[in-house]
């Protein structure tokens, strides 16, 4: 009995230690030389229309600011626009890179595009399932990392995680059921923004 007690105690304390150390890391990202900030945005609400986001401030952009170059990404239904060309007054450019979020440690030196008519810089981040179960769903494609060069010339990497409210598991029966499926056009994504102007994501 005693053995069990000590064992469970040890396990408990280990878990607590581990958990606390983890959360510490999350709360204060180590900003030493690099100015990298990492953030996960949950359920950015685009259900009533286009929604604008600034990667440098890590916040939604609204009102008159949406007509300026203060935003980087604009989400409207299944389209993601960058603030340039046919989409905005800024010079934000982007490209889509095949990688995991973690293993992309540097932004490519070139290959960035501005938005143009019928040719957005960001494409191919989702698939539409049509008649295949789960029917009529927008599913994010794995390994599609959006690399953005902002109007200020800073680099960010973005992974789109979900198109549905609450980032649901899309393999469940509930998700397949159109009457139970969470609302769409709620964007969950994570990004890392490098504020020092280098291409490094370390």
């Amino acid at each position: 009995m005693n053995k069990f007690k000590t064992l469970s105690l040890a396990l408990c304390s280990a878990t607590i230690l581990l958990a606390s150390s983890c959360s510490k890391n999350n709360d204060t990202p180590i900003v030493e030389v690099s100015k990298l900030s990492t953030k996960t945005v949950a359920d950015l609400d685009g259900s009533t229309g286009a929604v604008y986001y600034s990667l440098s401030t890590g916040a939604q952009v609204t009102g008159a600011d949406t007509a300026t170059n203060k935003w980087d990404l604009k989400f409207k239904s299944t389209s993601i626009f960058v603030n340039s060309g046919t989409s905005g007054t800024g010079t934000t450019q982007a490209q889509v890179v095949s990688s995991t979020f973690e293993t992309l440690t540097a932004a490519p030196a070139d290959g960035y595009k501005a938005d143009a008519t019928g040719a957005n810089a960001i494409t191919g981040w989702y698939t539409y399932t049509a008649d295949t179960a789960p029917q009529h769903a927008i599913l994010t494609v794995p390994g599609k990392i959006l690399v953005v060069k902002t109007s200020a010339g800073n680099y960010a990497k973005v992974e789109i995680i979900s198109y549905y409210k609450g980032n649901p598991n899309t393999t469940t029966a509930d998700f397949a059921d159109l009457t139970k499926r969470p609302a769409s056009r709620f964007y969950t994504f994570r990004f890392a923004y490098q504020g020092d102007g280098t291409t490094s994501f370390k």
Binding site: S98, F101, T132, P134, P142, I161, T170, T188
Partner: protein, 696 residues
């Protein structure tokens, strides 16, 4: 009600002929016992089943009858290492992990045409009036040419018994599915003529009954078959066989919010005159002519205003002349050589004009037994074609009898599949979605036409730079054994590996202004399939036979494996939706391939009462059927179906000295259904059948 009427009718008919009903089945049994188990498909010459050095399965008519099976798809679905695929274009067969397009279906050695996207609908073929079915797995293309990459299913029709013979058989059951056959034959010393009529119909079924839309629509098909032979003298025989099949199927489905309905007709006609002549003890020649046509016609209209939804036709013709010489140089060395020419045409709604192929071929085979225990077969075939590159397909097969009871066999050979009419000549634009598909030969003209019409946004690949479409090809390795220690036990096993290259796939060549793509065909992928298959049957005690078989199969795309190795294939974790890198072990291989399939078969035959009971359990392991995480491959649990078990059983009793067989058959007794994924499983099927044969 209907079933009762039919049964009554049949009983009356059979009562009339009872006196004549004496020897029919019993005679057959005796002669069958005396005959050695001979197969012809592997080498195009008669060989003993134990000796032939390539994997071959032989299914006798008696076995099929005992199981209460009638259509070819029913028979093949119960064989070890064979899987009937569920596809909207028909029920085709998967052998050694190959799609249905790679198995040739033959009747008496002659190829049947009429495939939809490569699939040959097997229920078109009745097993009425056959002697046996031979299935060869692996590289047989060296004798049969294109399409025989995975193997060959050869239906050998029965030779009539002497005198006047005839019979009637009927099966009726679930979904108003009825199969009726009427056979008769007459044979003398020099001459025979035989024929049958078969009617196969069904009320269809719906897996989504609430929708009012049938999964399989009602159909009604007829097969007429005639065969005659005349021995001019001891050395020369003339033969003629004719087969006609027609099928009408109603269809009804939902297009957006409107219902469309119509009828599709399918017609299939074959005629094959043959003359054989024995020049001497050593030289035997066969001159064979063959013409086969396949026609479909479909007219589907909207129900509300009777306007046309889809009107299509498809006419295909295949003509062949072939001469084969068999030359026995010595007792232990036999040569076979053949020459042939083929002319094929197709004319269809989706083709610009009548298209034709001309091809010629020659094949050669030496069957040499340097010592009694060793059989070496070497051969090859050369195909010259008017449209695609010529093909040479060599083969080497060896069997060695370690003992009288144990034979080792191994073979290596090349197979190929020619680009079909669709891949060369298709000219199709989907009216609803707006994409276009052009065959290789049509791509240039098609793109130019669309450009002139202002429909092309950008050209991805200049069609004038397209590489000439090449045949798909494979190299196959088979190694196995046959073991027959006693009359009671028979055990076979085969290891296989198929390296397939130049697989023809579609890829976009241009983007249209409507955002859709224009596709054409390319030689793209390299895939391989490998696995092992084993089958064992054992007569446990006199009336009870137990048998079973297993296949383990791997089928992978080599390019995907390379991508995985390079860490370039990703998935999403279903709980977090974050990207992960895929490992080799996550990759589920090609779609629709089950890693594990097995079957267990029991047969109990009571000689005294004439009662035969047969139970078969067929398992098909899980298989990938879709890609939901957007990486184009099967890897996540939700991309697989569940594995499932089918239990089929039949109970029959013979009456009146084996002249009458009364039978109850059940398929899918456990009523397994998956209305989302598996559309060819309508649930439990119960049939009652009655057959009557006479011979005098």
């Amino acid at each position: 009600m209907q079933i009762k009427i039919i049964l009554c009718f049949l009983l009356q008919v059979s009562a009339v002929g009872i006196t004549a009903a004496q020897k029919a089945d019993s005679l057959k049994k005796d002669s069958a016992k005396q005959l050695k188990e001979v197969v012809v498909t592997g080498t195009r010459t008669q060989k003993s089943l134990q000796q032939v050095p390539i994997p071959i399965t032989r299914i006798t008519s008696e076995e099929i009858k005992k199981k209460g099976l009638i259509r070819l798809n029913e028979v093949l679905s119960e064989q070890t290492g064979m899987t009937i695929l569920d596809d909207p274009h028909g029920q085709g067969i998967q052998i050694q992990g190959f799609d249905p397009a790679y198995t040739l279906i033959l009747i008496d050695g002659l190829p049947l045409i009429g495939r939809t996207t490569g699939i040959f609908e097997l229920s078109r073929i009745t097993t009425n009036n056959i002697d046996r079915i031979e299935i060869v797995k692996g590289p047989t293309s060296s004798l049969y040419g294109s399409e025989a990459m995975a193997g060959v299913v050869n239906i050998i029709t029965a030779e009539p018994a002497k005198g006047l013979a005839g019979g009637l058989s009927a099966r009726y059951g679930t979904n108003k599915t009825a199969d009726l056959s009427l056979n008769s034959s007459y044979k003398t010393e020099k001459f025979y003529i035989s024929g049958f009529v078969n009617r196969y119909s069904s009320g269809g079924y719906s897996l989504e009954t609430a929708s009012g839309i049938p999964t399989v629509s009602p159909f009604e098909g007829y097969t007429l078959n005639g065969k005659t032979s005349y021995k001019i003298d001891n050395n020369t025989t003339l033969k003629l066989s004719v087969r006609y099949y027609t099928n009408d199927q109603d269809s009804r489905f939902l297009v957006d919010t409107r219902y469309a309905a119509g009828t599709g007709t399918e017609k299939d006609f074959n005629i094959a005159p043959v003359i054989t002549h024995r020049f001497s003890d050593k030289v035997f020649s066969t001159l064979q002519l063959y013409r086969s046509t396949y026609k479909t016609n479909s007219d589907v209209r909207y129900e509300d205003d009777n306007s046309v939804y889809d009107q299509t036709y498809f006419n295909q013709a295949f003509n062949r002349a072939e001469i084969q010489n068999d030359y026995a140089i010595q007792d232990n060395l036999k040569l076979t050589a053949g020459l042939g020419g083929q002319y094929e045409t197709v004319e269809a709604t989706r083709y610009t004009k009548l298209q034709s192929f001309t091809s010629g071929y020659g094949y050669f085979q030496a069957d040499w037994l340097p010592v009694k225990k060793l059989d070496i077969i070497a051969g090859g075939r050369y195909d010259a074609h008017s449209v695609y590159k010529s093909q040479f397909s060599p083969k080497l097969a060896v069997s060695y009898a370690l003992t009288d009871k144990f034979t080792l066999l191994g073979s290596v050979g090349k197979g190929y599949k020619a680009p079909d009419f669709r891949q060369l000549y298709l000219n199709f634009t989907n009216a609803e979605v707006g994409y276009s598909v052009f065959g290789y030969e049509e791509a240039n003209a098609g793109i130019q036409r669309l450009q002139q019409e202002g429909q092309i946004e950008s050209v991805l690949i200049d069609p004038s730079t397209l590489k000439r479409l090449n045949a798909e090809s494979s190299t196959a390795f088979n190694f196995g054994f046959r073991y027959k220690p006693t009359e009671k036990l028979y055990w076979t096993a085969n290891l296989f590996r198929n390296n397939i290259s130049n697989l023809i796939e579609t890829a976009p060549i241009a983007i249209k202004t409507n955002g859709q793509s224009v596709f054409s065909y390319f030689n793209l992928n390299k895939v391989f399939t490998q696995g092992v298959e084993t089958d064992l049957s054992y007569q446990l005690f006199k009336p009870l036979q137990i048998a079973g078989g297993i296949q383990y199969l791997e089928a992978y795309d080599q390019d995907v494996l390379d991508q995985i190795k390079a860490g370039k294939v990703f998935t999403k974790d279903p709980t977090t939706n974050l990207t992960k890198v895929i490992k080799r072990s996550d990759y589920g291989g090609l779609l629709s391939r089950s890693k594990y399939t097995y079957n267990v078969r029991l047969n109990y035959q009571d000689e005294k009462t004439g009662i035969n009971t047969s139970i078969r359990v067929i398992y098909r392991g899980r298989y990938g059927y879709k890609d939901t995480d957007g990486n184009g491959i099967v890897n996540r649990a939700d991309e697989y179906t569940k594995g499932y078990v089918l239990v089929n059983a039949s109970l029959s009793k013979m009456f009146l000295k084996d002249a009458i067989r009364l039978q109850f058959t059940a398929q899918n007794l456990l009523n397994y259904k998956d209305s989302q994924v598996i559309l060819n499983l309508p649930g439990r099927l119960i049939y009652a059948g009655l057959a009557y044969n006479f011979n005098k």
